[in-house]
């Protein structure tokens, strides 16, 4: 393993460097954008490229434009410098399952097979993770609900605590069929859905996929999922290849998502989007 670790170390250094440089530019770009927003506030800042069928926002043009401007930004919440390949490596994110358990759809993300174990390519994981964090932050930024899901008994309390502390939602318990697809009768109200589901593990048991993935896909709810080498990623909107069993890895993901959500909420307040009279932290 020593050669490999050395190699990884080298790669990690590279990525840290690039990250730092990227971050600087991103920050400067963000500043420019904000200034632009301030200057052109009220005017219609066209954000989309071509779709006619998706008209411009209606919910208060001012705020919409701010949000859309933020969307234009590559890294509006500065999430790219949060994590490096080295961090991922140290959190054992690269460790996949036994090669015999490999899911076909995951093979592009697998670096190689080392002594019968799949090694996940962290070079690919990192951008996907950053992308997912960005999407998550944007949804929170716009006031969306995020539901964190996991069926890992070992890390369950940490997931729930994170969700509670950032004022979002969590469901780490046995999934009753139809929580999304039959919500109106289960909750006996007009159904409420989260705007994003984050799966910190996509498996319910070792044999079955989490039912929430299919349900959220059916109900047009975007999903982010950490997929291990033995998982199917086809029903997820955003997938992050990575180890989903090791507590260290889960704690890393939790730290990242916590940061993303907190930053997004802070930004939301800062940008004046948060007008809701109801405090929905813990009640």
């Amino acid at each position: 393993m020593s050669l490999y670790s050395r190699m990884i170390r080298w790669r990690a250094c590279q990525s840290v460097k690039s990250c730092c440089s990227l971050h600087k530019t991103a920050l400067s770009r963000a500043k420019v954008n904000l200034e632009q927003v301030a200057r052109f506030s009220g005017s219609k800042l066209v954000c989309n490229q071509q779709e006619v069928e998706a008209p411009t926002p209606m919910r208060g043009e001012e705020t919409e434009s701010v949000a859309d401007t933020a969307l234009q930004h590559d890294d509006y919440f500065g999430l790219k410098n949060l994590v490096t390949v080295r961090d991922l490596f140290e959190a054992r994110v690269h460790l996949g399952h036994n090669s015999g358990l490999r899911h076909e759809s995951m093979s592009p993300y697998i670096f190689g097979e080392r002594q019968g174990t799949d090694i996940i390519d962290l070079e690919q994981t990192l951008p996907l993770l950053q992308h997912a964090l960005d999407v998550c932050a944007h949804i929170v930024y716009r006031g969306g609900m995020v539901l964190f899901l996991s069926r890992n008994q070992q890390t369950l309390p940490w997931v729930e605590r994170m969700a509670q502390e950032v004022g979002e939602y969590s469901h780490c318990r046995p999934w009753k069929r139809g929580i999304f697809t039959n919500a109106s009768s289960i909750f006996s109200t007009l159904p409420i859905y989260p705007e994003l589901c984050v799966f910190l593990g996509t498996q319910d048991t070792v044999f079955e996929m989490h039912l929430g993935i299919v349900e959220s896909s059916k109900l047009l709810i975007p999903s982010i999922g950490v997929v291990d080498s033995n998982c199917d990623n086809s029903d997820l909107t955003y997938h992050v290849p990575g180890n989903d069993d090791t507590p260290a890895a889960i704690h890393l993901y939790l730290r990242l998502f916590r940061e993303a959500v907190t930053r997004a909420k802070a930004k939301r307040k800062e940008d004046g989007l948060s007008l809701d009279p109801v405090a929905y932290d813990e009640s």
């Binding site: 609900m145 309390p157 969590s170 318990r173 289960i186 109200t189 409420i192």
Partner: protein, 416 residues
């Protein structure tokens, strides 16, 4: 019924529509509904719905204090619409009820203004006599609020965000409880590690934990847990809860979580403490005695137990010969042998001769046990209670059934 006019009959029947079963779902107040429609101003509603401000505009938007428009979620809008519809319906029903009540008062020839609910009940029983056994199945006329099930309050705010962070689990309170237990457990583990490091693996906790015990209490019942959580908790989940709590309580440092554990435990009442111990009196010879009475089946006995004594037993002026069968003598012996007073007390019993010897012996035994408690200490009293000596036997003769020879015995029946 023939004397009623068609109109009164109609209104009566209309009023009687309230005879629906009042299947109550969870806590929900009508204060909220009234609040939102400005009926009652006092509105001290119990549930979390008071947090929601009363929306007055129907277009789903409201001016917040900051002057910006606040979007009301569709779910909340739908809820509010339904709440309003329900309240309108209830208003109509209440009006119907009031009219029906006045009609009823007129039919009965009483003053409509001072016609109370009791009068209504009486009138309905008189006008529509029913032979149905089940009381709830009989005709009734009641306040609609007593008959219609209460409505569930919204679990989410105006923006459509649920209040509870475990809302999507469908049992937020239950799972929040499990979450609490899990974290308490984690805290204890951390604490244990810390102590082990500090004291070299030997935390001295005897001093602190001495008064922490589960012996005097038991876990709350399933129903109690349901009431506490205001949620339906299936049996399986309740057992899961018990397992987790047992695990927490079994931790060596569980005494640190005593307060938390105590909220889910109910004390076992020491019944012998609430037991009435007869007074010790002194007779003219200077002997102390206690009097008690007991019952079994139809038989009642009054007993005086003298101490010190020589084991003399007098029952209705006879000695123990009164019971020729040893079984009955043995039943008298047991409380004495349990308390170690055989041959040390004298017993004088007066028992009604009605009933069989079993009933008489049982009545005397109960009375003797009760009287003997005056002469023994607390622990023996508890032993007596545990042995069932201080509990009245509630069984009585089973009634004879028609078509049968006795309570259970059937007539002889031969096909041919």
């Amino acid at each position: 019924m023939a004397s009623l006019s068609p109109w009164t009959r109609y209104s009566l029947c209309r009023s009687l529509r309230y005879c629906r079963s009042s299947a109550s779902s969870v806590l929900f107040s009508r204060d909220l509904l009234r609040n939102q429609n400005g009926i009652a101003g006092s509105g001290s509603s119990r549930d979390n719905c008071t947090e929601a401000p009363s929306p007055s505009s129907s277009d789903g938007k409201q001016k917040a204090s900051s002057g910006k428009a606040v979007t009301i979620s569709r779910a909340m809008r739908a809820y509010m619409e339904r709440a309003k519809a329900h309240d309108d319906m209830m208003k109509a029903e209440v009006a119907d009820y009031e009219i029906g009540k006045r009609h009823l008062a007129n039919i009965m020839g009483e003053d409509p203004d001072s016609f109370t609910q009791d009068d209504v009940n009486r009138a309905i029983e008189y006008l529509l006599p029913s032979g149905l056994f089940e009381k709830r199945a009989r005709p009734m006329m009641k306040d609609p609020y007593e008959i219609f099930p209460k409505k569930k309050a919204a679990q989410f705010g105006l923006d459509g965000r649920p209040y509870h962070w475990l809302y999507f689990t469908t049992s937020p309170n239950y799972y929040a409880l499990l979450y609490d237990i899990a974290w308490k457990m984690e805290d204890l583990k951390a604490e244990e590690d810390r102590l082990a490091e500090e004291k070299d693996g030997k935390p001295d906790r005897e001093k602190e934990s001495s008064d922490f015990t589960l012996a005097r209490s038991e876990w709350i019942t399933h129903q109690r847990l349901k009431d506490l959580l205001v949620e339906n908790v299936p049996e399986k989940e309740y057992r899961h809860f018990l397992v987790l709590m047992e695990r927490l309580a079994a931790h060596p440092l569980a005494y640190k979580m005593e307060e938390f554990i105590a909220t889910y435990r109910e004390p076992i009442a020491m019944q012998s403490q609430t037991l009435e111990v007869p007074q010790i009196e002194v007779d003219s010879d200077g002997r102390s005695f206690a009097t008690a009475s007991g019952k079994r089946k139809k038989c009642a006995a009054t007993v005086r137990v003298f101490k010190p004594g020589s084991g003399k037993v007098v029952i209705n002026g006879e000695d123990l010969q009164y019971f020729s069968n040893f079984v009955y003598r043995e039943s008298l012996l047991f409380p004495l042998s349990l308390t170690g007073l055989v041959g040390e007390v004298d017993i004088e019993a007066e028992v009604q001769a009605q009933g069989g010897p079993t009933a008489q012996a049982g009545a005397i035994r109960l009375a003797v046990s009760r009287a003997v408690t005056a002469f023994v200490d607390e622990s023996i009293r508890e032993d007596l209670r545990l042995a069932g000596m201080l509990t009245e036997d509630p069984r009585t003769k089973e009634r004879k059934k028609p078509g049968q020879e006795k309570a259970r015995k059937k007539f002889t029946w031969k096909k041919r």
